[in-house]
């Protein structure tokens, strides 16, 4: 007991010493007390349903508590109240079984209608495949040649409190999902590893991403804007750090964006082909590798390469990182089944993979002297 006590005491002491956050609230989205109305017809209906339920519940609660407090005030022994004798009444008991039942039916009818509305399965205008993985989202436009990963953009220094937190702290990503307004957008949601949940409150869409299965949800945003959400199902260590940002654009602007993205992806592919024939120097590879490592690998393998014993393996001195180079490349490209180690073939360019492999094989005293080039990665990926 004393131990628990002192533990709690220590925590309290630590708390008192830490300064209360003094972030100014002028630019931060003001806190709200209630659910958002959102920007789709469905989300507005969900909000109305929520308010209806809330009001009914408040009325019921207020009724019950009023009777209770009246009784507590008037039927006190100190006011000389004498106890009555009744202890049952079939009529009353039937009444308060039947009346709540009727109220419930009154609630269930609109709820059912709304649910059926939400599950509309007609043909969409745009389909996006949303794939969750530890701990980022991948978006693939099924009708266009566009796909990309979307990761937390908040700097680690902000999270650690070394620099002031930005306005969209933890709710910002490097590449947001872009959708057109006024169009039916269908989200096919799935996962590569554990269960995640794709939630954008402004669309009233929350859909679990189950590994090996697809679920669908849809939204039609009425207004252009930036809508933020978060992963809603515990998915491991960085669960709190995989936000969702959706930008809704007018259809014309959206079309421009699509064209631009397609061109960019073409260009990137061409660039990748060009880089295949180029060789990086050790310095180039190490500096690019370090950058890529910190952005993609350090969350699990830790910036010092030591991992988290028992959870994420160390790279420092590991057999794969100091000896088995083909395996090392294979793991980077394809990932490891049944672990948080995912495939980076699509997340990074071949030269980035080459650089990060080089970095891992030479940093933290893994001094193998190996220099891996983009063409080695290409060979492993496409089997030459």
């Amino acid at each position: 007991m004393n131990k628990t006590l002192s533990k709690a005491g220590a925590v309290m002491a630590a708390l008192m010493a830490s300064p209360v956050v003094a972030a100014s609230t002028d630019k931060i989205e003001q806190y709200t007390l209630n659910m958002t109305k959102g920007v789709t017809d469905i989300s507005a209906e969900v909000y109305d349903m929520h308010m209806l339920m809330f009001i009914i519940c408040v009325v019921i609660g207020a009724g019950v508590f009023t009777v209770m407090f009246i009784s507590m005030y008037f039927h006190r022994k100190s006011r000389g109240a004498k106890p009555a004798n009744f202890h049952e009444s079939v009529k009353v008991e039937i009444a308060w079984t039947v009346i709540p039942f009727v109220i419930l039916i009154a609630m269930a009818v609109p709820a059912t209608k709304l649910l059926i509305n939400m599950e509309d399965a007609s043909e969409p205008d745009v389909t996006v495949l949303v794939t969750g993985s530890q701990w980022k989202w991948h978006y693939k436009y099924m009708d266009n040649d566009i796909e990309f990963f979307s990761k937390l953009a908040t700097q680690p220094d902000q999270i650690a409190g070394r620099i002031p937190k930005g306005v969209n702290y933890l709710l910002e990503v490097d590449r947001p999902l872009v959708i057109p307004t006024g169009k039916r957008v269908r989200f096919l949601v799935t996962s590569d590893d554990v269960i995640h949940s794709w939630w954008v409150p402004d669309f009233a869409v929350k859909q679990d991403a189950n590994p090996g299965f697809i679920n669908d949800a849809w939204a039609m945003a009425n207004e252009p804007g930036v809508y933020r959400g978060q992963c809603a199902e515990l998915c491991g260590k960085e669960h709190g750090f995989m936000p969702i940002v959706v930008i809704a654009k007018e259809p014309a602007e959206y079309d421009m964006w699509v064209a631009e993205q397609e061109a960019n992806q073409q260009q990137a592919k061409a660039e990748e082909q060009r880089l295949l024939s180029m060789n990086m120097s050790m310095e180039e590879a190490m500096s690019l590798g370090e950058k890529v490592y910190l952005a993609n690998c350090a969350a699990c393998h830790m910036p010092n390469g030591e991992g988290l014993p028992g959870v994420f393996p160390a790279l420092k001195g590991s057999q794969i990182a100091v000896a088995d180079q083909p395996k090392h490349i294979d793991i980077m490209i394809n990932g490891v089944t049944g672990s948080a180690m995912q495939s980076y073939a699509k997340q990074l360019t071949m030269s980035e993979i080459a650089a990060v492999v080089t970095y891992e094989r030479n940093a933290w005293g893994n001094d193998t002297g190996d220099l891996v080039q983009a063409k080695d990665i290409n060979a492993a990926m496409n089997g030459q």
């Binding site: 993985s133 294979d330 490891v336």
Partner: protein, 187 residues
């Protein structure tokens, strides 16, 4: 009641209750096949049947045209390339059609793959009748091997009227006997 009687009564009752406990433990496991049966019957969670359907010459419902989308995915740890030749088909319920999938194993070793189908919206799953599918069994590709895998199916004419559109996803898993994989996990 004597003390003796009470004790006999007690032990009888304990036996019954212990039997219930074991029964419920078994029931927990019985939920597994039960769940599969329910999934097959009701299409919970969008799992289509993993046994070949037999195409009975059903009447083709010309009045409806159903759009079926195909998505291919590769799971972590699987080096194969996997794509569909046809991203979307429009079919009348009852009409037979074929979609081909291309797989390639670029790795230097032979690999065993298993494709897992999933249908969304889930209730459509039980109306997706496949007479032939690569997902019914594991597939082995030698190093560098390429293969065209056909899938033949028809949509059951009993498909509910409100479903006009559904998506079939295949996720390819690496199920190569996993001694090596386990070793890799331990880093």
């Amino acid at each position: 009641m004597s003390k003796q009687e009470v004790q006999t009564n007690n032990s009888k009752m304990v036996m019954k209750l212990v039997a219930i406990v074991f029964g419920m433990f078994g029931f927990g496991f019985a939920l597994v096949p039960l769940y599969d049966v329910l999934c097959d019957a009701l299409g919970i969670n969008g799992k289509p049947s993993n046994v070949a359907a037999i195409y009975e010459s059903v009447e083709i419902d010309k009045s409806r045209l159903i759009t079926v989308d195909f998505i291919t995915r590769i799971n972590t740890g699987m080096p194969w390339q996997f794509s569909t030749q046809t991203r979307q088909v429009k079919v009348h319920p009852g009409e037979m059609s074929q979609v081909d999938f291309l797989v390639k194993n670029p790795a230097k070793v032979s690999i065993v793959g298993q494709a897992i189908p999933s249908v969304s919206p889930g209730p459509a799953a039980i109306y997706m009748n496949k007479t032939e599918c690569f997902c019914f069994e594991q597939q082995t590709l030698q190093a560098g091997e390429e293969m065209l895998m056909p899938m033949r199916f028809y949509v059951d004419p009993q498909l509910p009227k409100d479903i006009t559109y559904f998506t079939v996803q295949y996720t390819l898993y690496n199920v190569t006997p996993s001694v090596e994989v386990v070793a890799m996990n331990r880093g």
